[in-house]
């Protein structure tokens, strides 16, 4: 009897010790840890594509396919986004009716700051993207906001990206539970399947970069924001980040959200943060 009790007591103690040892790990797995997430995200792509130079991921499908890359390099001599870039430069410098310009709304006059967007506004408790900041600047100066999916917005962001080319993406997550929540929400949005096709963003851009989907070669998710905005031959025009999210949703047969919906802002925050350290390459050109 004594032996049985001793065995029972021993087993119980062992179980309790095991539980005590594993419990913190369970808690840790649920904790939002953007630094660990970014490291894991980058390592996944670096290991999956060991021959691709790290800074080359920002060139999307061209980093995955040598033939396509050669064609693109030739195209870059007369890039298709050049008109948008020129227009954006002019728009950026043209004063509003009140005499102020976009430069008055941004740090460093808006030059070379693309790598810091989106940022988390601790006053508002929300993610502020570059497109949103530009429209808020317009409204604050008595101008009507631009469409988030049309040419004017793409031209402005193209110019701002161009002035930041080569600068490493540098997104901060402040010590604020709301910022961590926004990051986590963005991550969840990125991995959540939606639409009749039952695709998540990750279905294409994590599981299948470099593979063809119909005639296109899928871009890796790593660095995908660094190239925005983009000229797409498929669109015969420029496209903003908003336009990219909206069309991605439609392609999976999901009704897109309104441009600059919280979900889109958060997923942009997540994707930009995990690309920290990779250079800005926008504006980009894509097939």
């Amino acid at each position: 009897m004594k032996t049985r009790s001793a065995l029972l007591l021993g087993s119980l103690s062992a179980a309790l010790v095991a539980l005590a040892l594993t419990a913190p790990r369970v808690v840790a797995a649920d904790k939002v840890d953007p630094v660990a997430d970014a490291k894991a995200f980058q390592n996944f792509f670096f290991q999956k594509f060991p021959d691709v130079k790290h800074e080359d991921f920002v060139n999307g499908p061209y980093s995955m396919n040598a033939d396509l890359k050669r064609q693109w390099q030739e195209k870059e001599e007369f890039p298709p986004y050049e008109f948008a870039l020129e227009a954006g430069k002019e728009m950026f410098a043209t004063p509003f009716k009140n005499g102020k310009t976009y430069a008055d709304c941004f740090p460093n006059g808006g030059i070379g700051v693309r790598q810091n967007y989106p940022y988390f506004d601790t006053k508002e408790g929300k993610v502020i993207t570059l497109e949103l900041a530009l429209n808020r600047c317009r409204e604050a100066n008595g101008e009507a906001p631009y469409s988030y999916v049309k040419d004017e917005m793409a031209s402005l962001t193209a110019y701002m990206a161009y002035t930041s080319r080569g600068k490493p993406m540098d997104i901060k997550i402040p010590d604020d539970p709301r910022a961590l929540e926004a990051f986590e929400n963005g991550k969840r949005y990125f991995y959540t399947r939606r639409g009749q096709m039952n695709f998540s963003c990750a279905s294409c851009h994590v599981q299948s970069p470099g593979e063809r989907i119909r005639a296109e070669i899928l871009a890796p998710a790593l660095g995908i924001m660094n190239a925005m905005p983009i000229y797409r031959s498929e669109w015969s025009g420029m496209g903003t980040t908003s336009r990219r999210f909206v069309t991605c949703n439609s392609q999976t047969r999901a009704v897109p959200l309104e441009p600059q919906a919280d979900e889109y802002r958060d997923v942009e925050y997540f994707l930009s943060y995990v690309a920290n350290g990779l250079p800005i390459s926008g504006p980009g050109a894509r097939p």
């Binding site: 995200f41 991995y191 009749q196 999901a254 009704v255």
Partner: protein, 101 residues
């Protein structure tokens, strides 16, 4: 004999009832159910484009008086909306399986 006759009449009546052409009331019931499911999906931020198209197809068929086709489209829309609700509900946890760790 009488019982057999009564049963036969009941059966015949039943057949007539099922074979009758769909009415506007039937369409309205099917459409209301589809619309409610579609609204639920939209509330979950997971509306499918095909659900919206199928609801529009149902309305168009009903406007032209083709209630058989309208009901079929409304039922299809409801099935699609229910599938999108299932997707949104299951993905609340399932997305984690895809996460890079």
């Amino acid at each position: 004999m009488k019982r057999t006759l009564a049963l036969a009449m009941l059966l015949a009546l039943g057949l007539v009832a099922t074979a009758r052409a769909a009415t506007e009331a039937d369409y309205k019931a099917a459409y209301t159910a589809a619309e409610a499911a579609s609204k639920e999906a939209a509330g979950l931020r997971n509306q499918w484009t095909v659900t919206v198209s199928m609801l529009a197809a149902a309305r168009k068929a009903a406007d032209s008086g083709d209630f058989d086709r309208a009901i079929a489209a409304a039922r299809e829309a409801e099935a699609l909306a229910r599938a999108s609700i299932f997707q949104a509900t299951s993905e609340k946890e399932a997305w984690k399986a895809m996460e890079i760790r």
